[in-house]
Subunit: 438 residues, 2 copies
């Protein structure tokens, strides 16, 4: 057998190798650090995933800092690991310090480096490694790490009550909800998206590790396949009902729609809540899909429920020979029976801005399968993720309309729910702790 | 927004499009069918994964038929969905027919086609679609579908008792086992591996759908990252302890080792069990890893437990400047303290053929994270999969040695276990039903 390339590395620490130029040096903004990406190249490692959600095979990392957090309008990566955490310390200073440490680790990992300088060997033989190691050979894989704060974080334990944005309060219950408290809520959340799931899991796992004694895992969700496009450069993927849904999603290129529907305006968060300006509210809903029942439903019924055809994803009002996914939906068009061609209770109609006073949301969800349900079926569905300027003015009325009338409800069950305030992006010297605590 | 390419397809059925040449026509062996692959190309769809475990970006499917089943020595794909099923019908003919239908669907999906001719629209508006649709736009992604039969399938319900291979009987208990019956055993199993998890999940989900009324899901496991190499063309990946494990795995290129350790010899299965010649026994162990405890363990202790260094994966007996993952392990080498440099209880020593009378196994496992454990931690670990000529002569003594002495046991817990007989590959006109029932 041939020697691995690593065998040529003379046992020097990965960190020193990286610093010596084996990796791509990237100027780290915080603390003047110079980061070096993990050198794994697409060609050298088959488990790497440089193919990229933007369709390129680039190993260039997604910038960590900027006006807004990465992982919102970033072209939706293929895989996701999401975790909701509860704060277990009573000391606000510990939380604040953790948020600062997380900032540094998240930025490093985004660029393909280990979670802390020195990585697995930097602390020497008698210290636990500063990185857990399972992503050592993998490229950045478009990793983004997005943080959010739940309403409960502002309950007074940490002196943050005065900084709570007005719109950050729990979602109401919806008709048909079957929420599991163990899959809902949380003081904090971290969303890691990447084209390689091992890179996303590594990021979440290391942030949890760094938070030992300060936070504890409340719930976690792995998403194996994206269900949304957030850029016009992406094709619309399919959910586990086999449909293209969210064709009309807000895209990164539509800056007017982002300003109006996604980013929190300074006027929305006056006074001590101003830290949230430029942020976005993150809604998660774990939606179990009863795929076995769905799979026994005739095609036409499936299409009437969605309001789109299954093969192409086109509006049902279009003649069969003119089906185009991106042709506008015509809710007035009638069929030969003089009934609306897109049924009154079709999902696309109920969720459409024209039926909701102009409401739109940015969807960024993932398909999941979490083993079996103990009753002979897969526990599979959609981990719905949306980013909005105000969840109570956008997601809530939309979900109320859907919960009331959507025929899809016969096939789905909302089993988890959470709302988080995802703060704006970080400037050059900022960190999450200073941003939140002021 | 621009029209999608699909909008040019004039609403014709996907099937007819494929037949007209939009896809890659592949001569189907069974029933003289001509299959047409899904046309999704690597360049056209960002969620596709043509990068390939063999390091190429080829969209060529893995051949379904052959001397041995695919998915054993096939270069380990990046992702896996595994399901164990129980047979719920009492009618052997129904089971036999299902196995035949599965053969056809599995072969089609391997080549990138829908599960049945016509796909989502072929049955017309009043029939449930013959394919669930969520992989419609995705390429073959090196999908392999591997079937296996548990000991319980031969208990007399289906007239198969006389065809049971002698070596197919339940694994014994091991010291420290903490098995969950709901994650163990099963009459049947299907392993789907692919470089795109959506393709693997789609395959399993459709085979379950086809089996409605005949089988029911017992347990299911998603693996997000491969932990083994099964070809010299692959680099050794890392498990969630951050280590390269299984460097000495049996590789596809070592045909002598495969004959000796992996494939069932005709002499092993005389008489009515001869159908199993050329097959292999499939062992699964769901190994929960207590990663939080591991992450607090000093580097040297971690390395002593594995017997390899963490950064490179090299044997610990090698000097720091000569570390090479593929250099042979020297179990006699001693350190300055006159103690074996590779500790007596190190994982690589206990699992090494030199310590086990020449026993070797082909490992093909995957990393998993299944949400949280309800106690503040991720439920993560290794879904161990091995293929062996005789589990009781190979896996059992190896696991007995590990269960007795491996220091790793402080950090892991076996929570699921199963043994299946994976039959040999299918010839041109064979199907799984005829192969099993004769």
């Amino acid at each position: 057998m041939s020697s691995s390339p690593q065998s040529q590395e003379s046992g020097a620490t990965r960190r020193s190798l990286l610093a010596s130029g084996a990796g791509v040096a990237i100027a780290g903004a915080a603390a003047g650090l110079t980061y070096a990406g993990r050198p794994g190249s697409v060609a050298a490692h088959q488990s790497s995933s440089g193919r990229g959600s933007s369709g390129s095979a680039s190993a260039e990392p997604v910038p960590f800092r900027g006006e807004h957090q990465a992982g919102i309008v970033t072209p939706a990566q293929d895989r996701m690991h999401f975790v909701a955490l509860d704060v277990v310390t009573k000391d606000p200073a510990e939380l604040r310090l953790l948020l600062k440490e997380w900032t540094r680790a998240a930025e490093r990992m985004t660029y393909g480096a280990e979670a802390a300088p020195g990585g697995v060997v930097g602390g020497g033989p008698y210290q636990p490694p500063a990185d857990t190691g399972e992503a050592l050979d993998l490229p950045p894989s478009n990793l983004t790490i997005t943080i959010g704060y739940g309403p409960s974080l502002f309950d007074g334990r940490f002196g943050l009550a005065g900084r709570k944005p007005e719109a950050l309060h729990d979602l109401p219950g919806f008709v048909g909800d079957d929420l599991d408290p163990a899959r809902s809520g949380g003081d904090l959340c971290i969303q890691a998206c990447a084209d390689d799931p091992q890179v996303a899991v590594h990021a979440i796992r290391n942030l949890i590790r760094i938070g030992l004694g300060v936070i504890s895992v409340r719930w976690s969700q792995l998403g194996f396949g994206r269900t949304s496009s957030t850029s016009t450069s992406q094709t619309t993927p399919r959910n586990l009902f086999g449909f293209k849904d969210g064709t009309a999603n807000i895209k990164a290129e539509d800056s007017d729609a982002l300003t109006k529907h996604v980013w929190v305006d300074p006027a929305d968060v006056p006074g001590n809540a101003a830290w949230m300006a430029g942020g976005s509210y993150l809604v998660t809903r774990r939606i179990r899909m009863h795929i076995e029942v769905w799979d026994r439903t005739p095609l036409q019924e499936q299409e009437d429920i969605f309001g789109r055809d299954k093969a192409v994803g086109a509006s049902l009002h279009l003649p069969v020979d003119k089906r185009d996914e991106f042709a506008p939906l015509d809710f007035e068009a009638k069929g030969a029976d003089n009934q609306p061609r897109i049924p009154m209770a079709a999902h696309v109609r109920l969720a459409h801005q024209s039926q909701l006073g102009g409401i739109r949301i940015l969807r960024r969800g993932y398909n999941f399968t979490d083993g079996s349900d103990g009753s002979g079926h897969l526990d599979a569905g959609l981990f719905f993720v949306a980013f909005v300027r105000d969840a109570h003015k956008q997601f809530v009325p939309m979900q109320q309309a859907l919960a009331r009338a959507d025929v899809l409800n016969e096939y789905i069950e909302h089993t988890g729910s959470a709302l988080f305030a995802a703060p704006p992006g970080l400037g050059t010297d900022d960190d999450w702790g200073t941003q939140l605590f002021g």
